[in-house]
């Protein structure tokens, strides 16, 4: 039987009677008055929908722009360069005993960058979303780089797991909207690094991110707090440009025997044996007090301490 126009409208309106989470959650927050029935889950409240923040769509292929710290992010940082990072003595000791050849160990070769570091890494980024097929709400965002695991950011209000739950490279992330800024809290990170020259980040660290979309530019502020190795939160802001032609290539990492060494040998320097910070300082004409890092070095007044210096560093030109 053919439907009348009125019937079609009724059917379309009926399709809107599904439980939508903005209405549901808002109604949950409002306790029904005495004598009133609980609000129906099948009512679509357009006013609630319009007032509930739903942010913006970050979906897409994002190309990294290395217009900050390119020598550190692509070829890799220099040994002994801790400039502007609020590390403590424990971090300094870990870094000074670090040897780059540790990355040739089978256990390290396919190790992905952690959620806090990966923004600063050298790879393209893909972001996509999970949409609930019934409510049509975004229930999770996903971010994936060349050398990373799929990172999920849950938007459905679920709690973080027990502190005893396993830690992973991506950690456990939940997101909320603040206007058009997506704020993400991440816990349960495995131990990682804040710079690829041995500066460590502990598995007690937490990460707060703010994703900001400005036209075809994505800016992400990543703030790492680490009670073990940092004396202050460590913030970095990084830019990506939308590139619809980009794709993230596969990364079929295969472990091979890179160095012929006896089992159990872990490349390292003994405490006090490395002079990387002083070598880096000498090469660049910088004070060792600066290259050793620490919170003081990230504030402008540190220049009053070191004076006006012209660096001698020139990285490889392209």
């Amino acid at each position: 039987m053919a439907r009348t126009p009125v019937g079609m409208w009724a059917a379309l309106a009926g399709a809107l009677t599904i439980p939508l989470s903005p209405s549901f959650s808002a109604d949950q927050d409002r306790a029904p008055a005495a004598g009133q029935a609980s609000p129906s889950l099948v009512e679509y409240d357009d006013g609630v929908q319009k007032s509930t923040p739903n942010g913006v769509d970050f979906t897409g292929e994002w190309a990294p722009r290395f217009h900050e710290d390119e020598p550190e992010r692509v070829p890799g940082p220099e040994l002994g360069d801790y400039l502007g990072i609020p590390i403590n003595d424990a971090a300094r000791m870990r870094a000074e005993t670090w040897e780059a050849s540790i990355q040739t160990l089978p256990e390290w070769q396919c190790r992905p960058h952690s959620a806090d570091y990966i923004w600063r890494g050298p790879s393209p980024l893909r972001i996509w979303k999970d949409v609930d097929p019934v409510s049509r709400q975004v229930v999770a965002w996903h971010a994936e780089w060349l050398r990373s695991v799929d990172r999920s950011i849950y938007m459905d209000g679920r709690p973080h797991p027990s502190p005893n739950a396993p830690h992973t490279w991506a950690g456990f992330s939940t997101g909320t909207w603040d206007g058009d800024v997506l704020t993400i809290k991440t816990t349960h990170l495995k131990e990682g690094y804040v710079r690829r020259n041995g500066l460590p980040r502990s598995d007690r660290a937490t990460l707060t991110e703010h994703w900001m979309l400005h036209g075809d530019v994505l800016t992400v502020a990543a703030i790492t707090t680490d009670p073990v190795y940092l004396t202050e939160p460590f913030i970095r802001t990084t830019d990506y440009e939308l590139d619809p032609h980009q794709w993230v290539p596969p990364y079929p990492c295969q472990v091979v025997e890179e160095v012929d060494r006896k089992p159990g040998i872990v490349p390292h320097s003994l405490p006090g044996a490395s002079d990387a910070t002083s070598e880096f300082a000498a090469r660049c004409g910088l004070p060792v007090a600066a290259t050793r890092g620490g919170a003081e070095t990230m504030y402008p007044d540190f220049r009053d301490k070191i004076g006006f210096i012209t660096s001698k560093c020139i990285a490889a030109q392209r």
Partner: protein, 264 residues
């Protein structure tokens, strides 16, 4: 079957009623209510940008906290003309020519370490004073004043707008546009200068687009100002030049101390 069909029709009609109630008011209804006077940019500001902020230099330290070496233009997408120009850098020449502020112009000033002070100059103009080089920027909302063709200045002419969330429209109304949190600023008519202190150039053709976001407070109480900076310069840059710079909010201006421009 018939009972199910009746239930469906009933729910659909109730829902249609809900939908009709949420339709936007008709034009005549809007006329009856009277048009609301437009609110000033200051009145609808989505975030509080005002106060004292200090730059936290965790990125590009070697190019910001000290003067980079001549010829060190790493990370900047210079074209060949830009590289040639950078290789002619002579700070003594700049100092002698009264051009010591070339590295403190609008495309670079937010990257120069120091404190900034943000205030409303009036209801439609936001002002930023920078310690570094004792520079002042003014972001005017709305059309630029008709002043003919003034000479380019270090800080140029800046037009501000609030970024809007949503465009509205659609079958069921959609969300009306409203300020979403970011301040967009486009600056032109900038006196040629340097993107970095070691003579990495931008030309008089440069167009600067910036986005300002206030973030937080974080769990420890920190409030951040993040500035995304995009420089376009067909004369010296091969592509758009992106940087993002972060400032932490200070409780007051007790540590404020402006400094003069230095060419080296």
């Amino acid at each position: 079957m018939r009972r199910g069909a009746l239930l469906f029709t009933g729910v659909a009609l109730v829902s249609l009623g809900v939908s009709l109630r949420s339709q936007p008011p008709s034009p005549s209804a809007r006329r009856e209510r009277g048009a609301q006077p437009p609110q000033s940019p200051r009145a609808i500001a989505p975030s509080d940008f005002t106060g004292y902020w200090v730059s936290v230099v965790t990125e590009d330290w070697r190019w910001r906290m000290v003067t980079p070496a001549k010829g060190d233009y790493d990370s900047v997408p210079l074209n060949p003309a830009g590289r040639r120009e950078a290789d002619t850098w002579d700070p003594q020449r700049d100092e002698a020519a009264g051009e010591a502020c070339r590295a403190y112009a609008a495309p670079a000033i937010m990257r120069v370490p120091g404190r900034i002070h943000v205030t409303w100059e009036n209801d439609a103009a936001l002002r930023i004073d920078a310690e570094a080089g004792t520079q002042t920027r003014v972001f005017r909302f709305g059309a630029p004043p008709d002043r003919g063709a003034p000479a380019p200045t270090w800080q140029g002419e800046s037009i501000a707008s609030w970024e809007l969330s949503g465009r509205g429209g659609g079958m069921f109304g959609g969300r009306p546009p409203r300020p979403s949190g970011a301040l967009k600023v486009v600056t032109t008519r900038i006196r040629p200068g340097y993107l970095r202190k070691n003579g990495v150039p931008f030309s008089a053709s440069a167009v600067l687009t910036e986005y300002f976001n206030v973030l937080g407070p974080e769990d420890n109480g920190d409030v951040w100002l993040v500035v995304t900076t995009i420089v376009q310069d067909p004369q010296y840059l091969a592509t758009r030049f992106f940087t993002s710079t972060h400032f932490k909010k200070l409780p007051d201006g007790s540590s404020w101390h402006p400094t003069a421009c230095r060419a080296s």
